[in-house]
Symmetry: D2
Subunit: 458 residues, 4 copies
């Protein structure tokens, strides 16, 4: 997964981008990059690691100019490589081009092959480079026409920030898989994957970039163009369930409230006899609150999160098992001992971490442990940008609910039903992509796509 941010027309464009990426850090912890344009040339700083570690005063100062785009990235398949850090930058006849991309192109293989046949060389294995090559291709003279023609050839998911000299381009694929919003800070326009990044810099939210829309932003003016291709709306429901920050609005709806409603729905479906309900922090927090409120069950936070986690940490060699869980989360024995506990999680992917957490709760003395999950079983991989593991590692793709319960070691287990999930999202006026639950992929996937992605290493 990735987060993108862009600024057009602000004296501290790079610094704002730095802050924006900081707010979007949860969308990509592997690498961070910013490219800025000062009217003459681009400057670029990219590094493996967290935003706070990737930049310092000196590197931020070197990012001159009033336009900037930035990117944070998660490693997907393949080993992470410093070559693949985005934004991707190059220069071509029309000037300098930089691309920051969130999503996953599904026709990458065809595009790649065609270009190689024409002698194109590739420096990275990113979708961003392909997009830059497509924009640079000769033909149309007008840069906006070039961009529209290039983006028309893309299939799959893309939320984009492109900088071509002082022109900033924003775009979302016709299905609108990934979020992207537009904000304003004084006279400057700002683009961000989530609104929490606008909040941090004090920018005002204007609107979402539309599905299938291209925005050209330059010198305080915005022009909107539509991609010709049309698709049914297919916004990623998993952004609500797990990925986005609860204080963000995405697809025009608040995440915190959505998660609470998921918890409320769960309470309607599943009511084991328990002394209290508690979340696995922090991913289950909102749903657990919704559950407690709906079920009128006492709410406890009987696992304490260590706030210093996240930093590099020296692993104890032979010392202890389950350490990775314990160092992050410590149960409060006095609360748990002898109690029947309902824990709420947002989702289960592999099941191994959940299993370790339940074991920790048992060791802390819980008498019964019941588990509610605020989404249905994840049975299918995502080809539009969420970095689920391959099908063989998705526990719900291979096991029935009872088998999963047995594996994770809880006394009972309930997943929110598909209907319950959609009902919690009832107020949304558009459709979601729920392919990871249903297998109904809104945009066609090539047969060997999984294999291609693995080979391309990214």
């Amino acid at each position: 997964m990735c987060g993108i941010f862009a600024v057009s027309g602000h004296k501290e464009a790079a610094k704002l981008t730095y802050l924006g990426l900081y707010a979007l850090q949860h969308r990509g912890e592997e690498s961070a990059g910013i490219v800025s344009f000062n009217g003459k040339k681009i400057s670029c700083q990219k590094k493996m690691g967290l935003v706070a570690d990737a930049f310092d005063q000196q590197s931020l100062r070197s990012l001159e100019g009033e336009c900037a785009i930035g990117h944070v990235r998660y490693s997907t398949t393949g080993s992470p490589s410093s070559l693949n850090i985005q934004p991707f930058s190059a220069c071509h006849k029309k000037g300098n081009i930089s691309v920051a991309h969130n999503g996953n192109l599904t026709n990458i293989n065809i595009l790649h092959s065609k270009m190689e046949d024409k002698g194109t060389i590739f420096q990275t294995s990113t979708d961003s480079e392909i997009i830059a090559h497509l924009i640079a291709k000769p033909g149309r003279n007008n840069i906006k026409a070039k961009v529209k023609h290039a983006l028309s050839q893309l299939e799959g998911s893309f939320s984009l920030a492109v900088m071509i000299d002082q022109l900033i381009v924003a775009a979302r694929d016709p299905s609108g898989f990934r979020p992207l919003c537009l904000g304003k800070l004084d006279q400057a326009y700002v683009l961000a994957s989530e609104t929490c990044a606008l909040d941090l810099i004090g920018a005002k939210y204007i609107r979402d970039v539309g599905a299938g829309e291209i925005l050209f932003i330059k010198e305080g003016k915005i022009e909107s163009v539509k991609l010709n291709k049309k698709s049914k709306s297919a916004s990623c429901i998993f952004e609500y369930i797990y990925f986005s920050r609860p204080d963000s609005n995405i697809f025009n709806r608040n995440v915190y409230l959505a998660r609470r409603r998921l918890g409320e729905e769960l309470a309607r479906e599943y009511k084991p006899d328990c002394d209290f309900v508690m979340p696995i922090p922090d991913s289950g927090n909102c749903a657990a609150l919704g559950y407690a409120s709906q079920a009128k069950l006492p709410y406890q936070t009987a696992i304490i999160r260590n706030h210093y986690i996240g930093r590099t940490f020296i692993q104890p060699s032979q010392l202890m098992r389950d350490f990775r869980v314990r160092v992050k989360l410590n149960p409060v024995k006095e609360v748990l001992a002898g109690k029947k506990v309902l824990i709420i999680e947002d989702s289960i992917v592999r099941g191994t971490t959940t299993r370790a957490k339940i074991k920790t709760l048992r060791q802390a003395g819980a008498k019964e442990i019941h588990m509610g999950v605020s989404c249905p079983p994840i049975k299918f991989p995502c080809f539009y940008g969420i970095d689920f593991p391959t099908k063989s590692e998705l526990i719900a793709a291979n096991k029935e609910v009872e088998e999963i319960r047995n594996f994770i070691g809880s006394d009972s287990l309930h997943y929110l039903s598909l209907e319950g999930m959609l009902s919690a999202m009832r107020e949304a006026e558009f459709d979601f992509c729920a392919a990871c639950f249903t297998g109904g992929y809104p945009v066609e996937i090539p047969n060997n796509f999984n294999k291609i992605m693995l080979e391309r290493g990214g």
Copy 2:
């Protein structure tokens, strides 16, 4: 404030100490140090900064031996200095001595003067060095007698871990101001400021080190000795209110539960008409939960904490005000807009941060903001180890409650009463030091003590 940890008789003594300090990080973020003894000589690693940054694989590997003591430290008055990082180590006739100290000696000035007259030179401005000098003084031949005699001369608060070659000494002052507990991991004995450090390494809690007790630990054997001086129990109540981790037990009671009860008491005293109650994360979390449960008021977590905070961060130069608050905590507008909100804080020290947070909530659209504080007004400085600012900076030492309310900008403000606070602690069978609320100092303070501490720079 400081955190201490020690291990006697484990092959990975230094690694365990590293983990223990990691769990105690909240007690001191300024510096970290570990000293180990391998039967022949001591090894020492000390650095400014967080535990995770202060040590690496190589430095941990260099800390050989089965005995180790460690320390994390907050800067108090004076500028922090790498010379003052604890543990303090030296060698004397009886071997190598290292001292890790949590607390504040009140007769430091007298001890210091006496020693200087005898030609003693000091390398640091820490209490630890004084303690080492006292232990080294000629006279008694038996090392245990030496230690007891040395500790008898100390006044004020001290929870200590001392390592004299392979002998580990633990001690608490007769009033028992600061916590210190004893645990066991396999055959090894472990000492820690809080039980959360025992939990992390999987050690079993045995008992607290008693007030006025000295423990001598060596080769699997423990000997307990009592200091002759006797005092009334005066355990720091502020450890429960704010300082300790909620998953710890200190002074034999659980912190999470204590905080919930403080919130429940608060609900008995103060019930403004509000739509919901919410904590300022994370310090107000437990009390807010207790409040909501007692008051039967809906509970929301309408401020989201950024989990990447804590790292070094580049301050935006001219960009924005209130940024430090905003980067840590982002309000969820959709929850707050148009609502009457009750926020719960554990305590107010200067009031400036609270003021900034309330401003942020107003900007997010809250209609009314009421504030409950789960302890009484802090009116007096602490001379026993809590790093409150000087009296002139303590807002409650200088303003009435209504003035404070006006300063922080809330619509109403209520502090938990002294009786309410003590009632919440009712089940404890010992007495607390509540001098910061009442001014009743259990151990006499020299007239010019505040000035002395400032001059000594630490």
Copy 3:
């Protein structure tokens, strides 16, 4: 200027390349890079700074495979950029291609324009990327034909190491401007800019890569192909005078001996009445020895070089002038005081450093200072890879010898004559490029080439 190194067929290819670059460090202190190929994929490590700082154990270990190429680089015109660190790597239809280049292409502008018209995008401003694009162009199917065709389009100077999957290609331009030699270590083939790099790894020198020759090296076999274009030999004479290491053989002749002969010739032309001759260390060492031996004048090393220089150094703010010279070179007053001194330099570029050194010698008490230079005045910029400043900064392009003498402050000044220089090189059986002295450029330079290079920033 740059240095290149390559290995084909050795288990520790990257480590050997690291050592080779270390030996070639004088050819480029700005950045260093290594790319290796392990049969499946390339690995790449590139950094600003010296070789010893650019790599560590971990980064070397990550460079897997039995083939590797490496590069060290000086900043030329334009600001140095981490994007421009060589080798340049990309992947294309025939596999992964990496290019390390020493030299300067003179038709870069034409090649660049043509490609941009076809929609090519450029990530760097290096000649290496152009070469990679040329090799990738569709047309010939055979990779060797592709390479030959690509290199046929290059004009100017190039000594190249190219890696296309496991195929290593070495090539020199038809004029043979820059050195490149072939060596063998056990079964592995090795390429290096200078033989000193072969010496360091214990490889045996086989032969120079010929001017206009392409070598294809793969699995222990070498194939030699000639570029069709023919040119008169034009090896850079300045490599002997200044650039190469004295312990290297380049163009099949030893540098140390060549420099001694330059000093001997100087002694035949210039014999001021002096007490002794001394070098400016270290560049004038060999010529001064040759001079002393021929002139039968005592030889002193009356300036001592600080061996710790080279590292980053904190400049004293307002403290002292001439500090940069003094910190590197300290004169021995006892030797200089009251003496008539002849100092020997290899060359004078701007004259400012020489001026500072002469001032230092005067302050140390020298009575008379005479100066011999072991090459003629440098009057013309180099377009084939030596990073002379622009013409306006070359002191001899703008001043007569007497004016230069006056500027640098010596009592007399003599440059070795062109005839003397060539006579010292008499035994070489090929012709030199001496364009920096004569202005006779062996390969045509586009009118606006200087400007183009500045704009391209590298």
Copy 4:
């Protein structure tokens, strides 16, 4: 070995000290430290590593005040420890005291024992701490009397810079083993182990600190006091032979010229039939020049030194033997091949490095290799500060000259005779310590001193 530097009365005292230590780097590469005093308190920066790495702009800026002392240090026996980095600082009744020491106290054991009996604790194993304790002892009230009394108790070698608040004290032991000189820069006084440090900062040499002299420097005034103890002059002759920089004057004589004369004497004693003479760079340079000049033999520098050495370097694992020699020094084959060569070294300690160098020269094709050493065989350890290995590792303590020749692999070997060495020093008007050659120790050594030093680890 160590180097010391001090400044009294200059606004940039710490920066000057930094530069002075930089010039004295050859006297200690293991650690570096500076302590300054700003009228109120001391500031301190100490680190393992070279001067250029130990300080940065920020740490230098933090060293406020017009007085400063600095120290560079070599590891002697025992493992190096960051605790032992000098200067040693502490505070006592009379103020802050910092000590920088070059030398070796021979009665350390007695002093140490006495103090421990009185309950003194030690933080380091350095002589400097002992000196600080002695000065702090109660008794005399006048600080100068205190210092004189303290230094009177020291035996062995010491060149000292002590800072007691704004008072700078310089002192040398009565035998004058180690150098220490006084200089002036504007109104400031400067102390340095060697004059090359005065040269770097542009200070004027005033005079050497006398053997047995104490200087008290404060506010532009100097007071000289003599220690009561008297001894025969015993300046370390090895400072001339190897240790000091050739551009320094020590003990009032120039090192470069002394080394040349040692080479001239060698030429009178030893004249093998050779084609040319060459030094092992850089230690043999001056002596080889003297030899060549006296013997009228051609002089070559047929080994080229790599100027990038000194930095941390990744050792090639299984790649090659003799690599450490090769990476520093590369022979010029064209000069050596088929020749009879005389190489000049300043001294032979263990013999292993010399052996490796001779092997390298043989591999480069030298027909005969003769070796001249510009001092007699080193047969005895030094107890006054030179870090020779123990007797068992000194090759000349265990082997006859012919055995040594056989071990190092030369065709002949000659050591300068004791008479020749002293004759080369003829103009010096004082006596030398030559105990490492003769075993005649000018100051008595306790029987078990070697063992004590090893145990104390430094």
